[in-house]
């Protein structure tokens, strides 16, 4: 029953982690300088931020290339493969909790905070602060409109958001077709379906940009238009960021497929990105229901 044990590959030394840490430091310190030093010029911050991005970009490329190369050289045992799977799975779990924090904020504000502000329930004493404030969702009139002017209109869920839902759900399907084709070693179909997925993802992003533009210019819906705008933009914004990252990752996978990488039975890089993409898709369904429709 016991097969020959393949030694678990422990890379010897690597400069990636330390450089990646320096990159994070530059990003954090650079962003901090820009945000706090707006009045006395954030040039230093811009340079740091730029250096940080450059370093991080360089490290991501070389780190992943090394992992791919090590895999091709056959250094990775099946046990190693399992480590990557567990690792990616738990990484996505942590991402789920990141979004859970924002969804939790949304639910708390809708179900408890805004009604209390309007004097409902046993905590209703707080209506003394802003007399006449009415509980409504979407919150078109904030308690203090002089500080936070509420939105004039909100995004109609049955136009762009519906279209985006269709786009993202179909992109999950096309990605699955691509994966099926890869398993059957049908490489043309793999690349075509994958390319279609990338196009769908990019189209989604294009429409999201249009939606944001409309929100800012026509609907009066901004980050500063009270807590409706805050929750709307933080949820859709971080989701959009994840779609962007996911699209870039899919693009990298597409390039690797075109270069002839991955085999029908060994293609964890592909699968990891697919997991990530499906996760982003599921988050969108939650957004569509709780942010746009309800």
């Amino acid at each position: 029953m016991q097969t020959e044990y393949q030694e678990y590959y422990v890379p010897h030394q690597s400069y990636y982690p330390i450089v990646a840490s320096v990159a994070l430091f530059c990003l954090a310190f650079g962003a901090g300088s820009i945000m706090t030093a707006a009045e006395n010029g954030g040039d230093f911050g811009m340079i740091l931020l730029f250096v940080g991005f450059l370093l991080l970009f360089f490290i991501i490329i070389s780190w992943f290339s090394t992992v791919a190369a090590e895999s091709r050289l056959g250094l990775y045992s099946p046990q190693m493969d399992k480590s990557f799977r567990w690792g990616m799975g738990w990484f996505i779990s942590s991402e789920v909790m990141f979004f859970a924090a924002f969804f939790g904020a949304l639910f708390y504000i809708r179900v408890l905070a805004v009604p209390w502000l309007a004097g409902e329930g046993e905590k209703g004493v707080s209506h003394l602060l802003w007399e006449g404030f009415v509980n409504q969702w979407p919150l078109m009139t904030t308690p203090d409109p002089s500080l936070f002017k509420g939105p004039e209109q909100i995004v109609d869920p049955w136009h762009i958001p519906l279209l985006n839902t269709i786009l993202l759900i179909s992109s999950s399907l096309t990605l699955t077709f691509s994966h099926k084709a890869l398993k059957l070693n049908n490489r043309t179909a793999t690349s075509l379906w994958l390319a279609l997925t990338v196009v769908l993802g990019a189209t989604f992003l294009y429409y999201q940009v249009i939606e944001y533009h409309e929100a800012y210019t026509e609907l009066g819906l901004t980050l500063a238009s009270g807590v409706y705008g805050s929750t709307f933009f933080i949820l859709t914004g971080f989701h959009g960021l994840h779609v962007t990252i996911g699209t870039i990752m899919l693009l990298c996978i597409l390039v690797r497929v075109l270069e002839g990488e991955f085999s029908g039975d060994k293609h964890f890089g592909f699968e990891a990105v697919a997991w990530y993409w499906h996760f982003v898709d599921v988050v969108w369904v939650g957004l569509f229901i709780f942010v746009y429709i309800l």
Binding site: Y8, V10, P11, H12, Q13, S14, Y15, Y16, P17, I18, A20, S21, L24, F25, A28, F29, A31, G32, M35, T36, S62, W63, S65, T66, A68, A69, R72, L73, Q79, S83, W86, G87, W90, S94, M97, F98, A100, A101, F102, G104, A105, Y108, I109, A113, W116, L117, G121, K123, T142, D144, L147, F148, L223, G226, V227, Y228, G229, S230, T231, I234
Partner: protein, 535 residues
């Protein structure tokens, strides 16, 4: 591109072969570039020690100021920065990295794995920390001073009324979060995937079990912390109103999200401690751990309960009556699995042939003093009583009893316990015991009187106080300096142990069991490259 990398990797592999079944690399690069779990574990532990001393100095400044009523040494504004930084540094810089360091050193050796599952990621988890804490400490020298809103950084103190440096603080917290999440992923993957055949889950040493559960907590709550500081950042710089009622938000929302992270966080700081103590007590009682499986279930129950008790930190903030009741009773439930653990430790010692080496002294003190902290926790859990205790020194006494003689003592116990395995030398036992007794006396003198001043109504986070609290505060300060300076003995002892030759045996302790004791002392650079036989 790909062939180029391949050649690079191949040449890298060649140099590895040349390293003749590789020991550590020469020079400073060993530490910057390492992928070795023992190197990374050591770096975590040294980092934690530096942070412990830094945070400790801040604590001593606080105690110096509170030695007598009136303002002596510190400006009130700077005092606030000290309490804030002391908390942040001790929680994120001292206690958590120390446990991760112990996990790095011990988990692979305890389960018989060649290294951590994702070695490069492991090194990244560590190296983020020094950078994050440099940013955190730099804030002290910025215009407007460092964070001054307490380690819980409640909005709007940390948003509307915060110093400009709060932005740096937010990014530093983001970096620590990245580090913790990656570290936790590594621990989980190592434990679930790197066990040799025969090492079934219910044979895992308890330190490994408690760390597995801790890692799950980390993965589930660190992203929530990232979320809440992101909302702070948005409120400060981008005009949102999550925590501002004028825009329809709610400052209490901050507290809910923060404590949804914060309560599991305090268990992140105690579960590995339970594991360490559960390793040490059986060794020196020369008996098997009593109730192994009940320990595993108790730890899991505590972890689960930690997610549904967060609002017991917020009893006085104005939450509905049903909420107060639910969180009160859920909190009290935690006493049940915790009681199971304490009884198991006592039952392990019962009729054992006990000896009292330094690790055992710390472990026994842990059981007794942690229980005191647990009992004051029960008192605080009673919602109506908490209205009196809330934000007084009673709370300070409570959480210092679970964190100092709890987490910190367990870390010291663990260090003394495993030091001979790491260095190959015995530490000076006499000095170790002296260190223990000075620490034991010191922390009790420091923190026990805080119960009294707290019950009498002294608020926490104040640089000055009413005359009636003067005597107990003076006593506390004396204890704090005693405890603080006796840590120098600890450092001296560790350094001597690394440098002096006092060869330890492979088993180190007569009653020690487990895979980590089956390898030579000091443990070779690579252990268990082939999976060991486990029976």
């Amino acid at each position: 591109m790909s062939t180029g990398t391949e050649q690079l990797v191949e040449s890298e592999l060649d140099t590895q072969e040349a390293h003749a079944h590789h020991g550590p690399a020469k020079g400073i690069s060993r530490w910057f570039l390492t992928t070795n779990h023992k190197d990374i574990g050591s770096m975590y532990l040294w980092f934690s020690l530096v942070m412990f001393m830094t945070g400790g100095c801040m604590a001593l400044l606080i105690r110096a100021e509170l030695f007598q009523p009136g303002l002596q040494f510190l400006e009130p504004a700077f005092f606030n920065q000290m309490t804030t930084m002391h908390g942040l540094i001790m929680v994120f810089g001292a206690v958590m990295p120390a446990f991760v360091g112990l996990a790095n050193w011990m988990i692979p050796m305890m389960i018989g794995a060649p290294d951590m599952a994702l070695p490069r990621l492991n090194n990244w988890s560590f190296w983020i920390l020094p950078f994050a804490f440099s940013i955190m400490l730099m804030t002290l020298f910025m215009e407007g001073g460092g964070p001054n809103f307490g380690w819980t950084f409640y909005a709007p103190l940390s948003t509307t009324f915060a110093p400009p440096s709060v932005t740096y603080f937010i990014f530093a917290v983001h970096m620590m979060g990245i580090s913790s999440i990656m570290g936790a992923i590594n621990v989980i993957v190592t434990i679930l995937n790197m066990r040799p055949p025969g090492m079934i889950m219910m044979k895992l040493p308890l330190f490994v079990w408690t760390w597995l559960i801790t890692a799950f907590l980390l993965i589930l709550v660190m992203p929530v912390l990232a979320g809440v500081v992101t909302m702070m950042l948005m409120d400060i710089h981008f005009g949102t109103s999550f925590f501002n009622a004028a825009g329809g938000g709610d400052p209490v929302l901050f507290q809910h999200i923060f404590w949804f992270f914060g309560h599991p966080e305090v268990y992140i700081m105690i579960l590995p401690a339970f594991g360490i103590v559960s390793e040490i007590i059986p060794t020196f009682a020369r008996k098997k751990l009593f109730g192994y499986s009940s320990m595993v279930y108790a730890t899991s129950s505590i972890a689960f309960l930690s997610f549904i008790v967060w609002a017991h930190h917020m009893f006085t903030v104005g939450i509905p009556l049903m909420g107060e009741l639910f969180f009160m009773f859920a909190t009290m439930l935690i006493a049940v699995p915790t009681g199971v653990k304490v009884f198991n430790w006592v039952a392990t010692m019962f009729r054992g042939s006990m000896t009292f080496e330094t690790p055992m002294l710390f472990a026994i003190a842990f059981v007794v003093l942690f229980s005191i902290g647990g009992f004051s926790g029960l008192m605080l859990a009673i919602a109506p009583a908490d209205f009196q205790y809330h934000d007084t020194y009673f709370v300070v006494a409570h959480f210092h009893y679970v964190l100092v003689p709890g987490s910190i003592f367990s870390i010291m116990a663990g260090v003394y316990y495993w030091l001979p395995k790491w260095t190959g030398n015995y530490y000076d036992e006499k000095m170790g015991r002296l260190h223990f007794w000075l620490s034991f006396v010191g922390i009790n003198i420091t923190f026990f009187p805080m119960h009294f001043v707290g019950l009498a109504g002294m608020p926490r986070r104040v640089p000055d106080y009413a005359l009636q609290f003067a005597d107990f505060n003076a006593v506390s300060s004396v204890g704090a300096f005693l405890f603080g300076f006796s840590q120098l003995l600890f450092i001296y002892n560790v350094v001597c142990c690394i440098r002096k030759r006092n060869q330890a045996t492979d088993r180190v302790w007569e009653g020690a069991h487990g895979l980590e004791w089956s390898v030579p002392s000091p443990a070779p650079y690579h252990t268990f490259t082939k999976p060991p036989k486990v029976d």
